[in-house]
Symmetry: D2
Subunit: 167 residues, 4 copies
């Protein structure tokens, strides 16, 4: 089984809802297993043992300090390279469509690449006219059906690659 860790800061309930949709997408892929963890309960060894990582944050003018601090204190995996070469992805939620939502995702992209991981976002589809980004899944104010579908697509995408690379 390939384990996909979905690690997020749940301060905003929207982020938790997006995380749930990402996990639904992961569950669609045979051989993949979703581990969903709020940073308040996550342990560093879960980061160490995953086959893929999906990071989620509220847009608090970028990634929340709480999520970043958790990652800062999770060990020196960026240096030791345990996550290098594994797939990574991102999602973010906030109150405004262009008020830093992509910027928050971009900070998550940076954290994924800082571990030497492969980054996957969402490819273009007609649904991106309403939700989602090349950098990952999104939601603004409320979770729409389009948001949920994009988050599922992202979960399935990262899980399929994790299964393939873990075999």
């Amino acid at each position: 089984m390939a384990t996909v860790l979905v690690l997020f800061d749940s301060r905003a309930s929207l982020v938790r809802e997006l995380a749930r949709a990402v996990c639904e997408g992961i569950a669609l892929v045979p051989g993949a297993d979703a581990h969903s963890r709020d940073v308040e309960e996550a342990r560093p060894d879960e980061l160490l043992r995953c086959d893929a990582l999906v990071l989620g944050s509220a847009n608090w003018t970028g990634v929340t300090g709480r999520l970043k601090t958790w990652l800062d204190e999770s060990g020196d995996l960026w240096e030791s390279g345990e996550l290098a070469g594994k797939p990574g992805a991102a999602f973010a939620a906030g109150w405004s469509p262009h008020g830093g939502l992509e910027a928050t995702l971009l900070q998550l992209v940076h954290l994924i690449l800082g571990h030497g991981m492969l980054f996957l976002g969402l490819p273009w589809s007609e649904r991106m006219r309403r939700s989602g980004s090349y950098y990952g899944a999104t939601a603004v104010a409320v979770l729409t059906n389009d948001d949920r579908e994009q988050a599922r697509a992202l979960g399935a995408r990262v899980a399929a690659l994790a299964v393939r690379l873990a075999s």
Copy 2:
């Protein structure tokens, strides 16, 4: 008079509409004068003589090659520093709310800062829940009233600073 050059690539008509709203905002400021130029007709000496610069682009997976090429060929102002210390701002329009609209604005931010200019975006307001970014004015698919108001606010903001610094 402080001259604010609004320089944009008009391939998408939305960009032209946003440019018009930015100019309306500039016109509200006593002592400021808006010069609106499509890159197809703009001349490098207009860049040289402005007191402030507002750059606009369609979201073509980032700034259009046409706008970037125009700037590449407009001389070495980044090196000679004619624009350094003057105010700059940005606007962008596209088909999807998070499909690179902020990324396009961020590339414009980079071009402004690459000239040593001061960068101004939009401050938070309730309207940012519907339109606009810390990086500048926005529009998606059609120009809404909120888009127009944010673009006017941006034009007025950059013009007011240009007048103040030119005095």
Copy 3:
């Protein structure tokens, strides 16, 4: 007097050394006063009362969680707008020349713009071939004389604008 708050996370001593050089630059400007604060000792009301803000961080795959958490907990100034329209700038230090140093600065740029502030970096100069960025002052591994001169130039630049806008 215009007060320029230099707020940084000192985990890396290089950041503290850069902060000192920024303050030296501020002190060169008549009418400007530098307040240098490590996030471990800074109080939110100092943020509220400043006329300009210079943020500094170590490159810990982006801004440190400690600095971001301090800002997250400093109140809702981004919402109430007390800092809007005031000048802001950034500096960063780390161990590698392109291993996220600009990315860290870019996250500081985002925090400055998220408050609706004006952002100033460094304009091009021959010295940028050795140190500094359009996004702010830099240092890698050790503080060189070029790093110090760029940090001073940045401090003087933001202080001069703060004095001008405060008058």
Copy 4:
């Protein structure tokens, strides 16, 4: 055979030298074939037929207008999705260590993700203290041995994934 297209704007000879080193890395991987193309001679169908893409640009305050224009005019692959799911990577060269080199790489990251591709940079290694980025391979002013080794590592990394995914 998995074909890795190395597409770059050669205006700066450093970019051409980095491209050569990337190709050397690709050639080290059994089953991978490097196609090196300057944008002046590249044809859109080469983009369509590749199994992986490595984009390179000089730092001209971001990606050169010439490279961006070529991509703008290469068809609507971002929309039709021919490149989606394939590996992509980036390299950049310029005159200053932090004067937009990462920003240029970031624009290439965006172009790769805008096609729905997987993005790979360089993982941390001691060599990143001297050259290279989480976003790709780098060179400043002259090509050093470290630059060459990082570019080779990047080429080998993207080629190995391309071979694996093409099988």
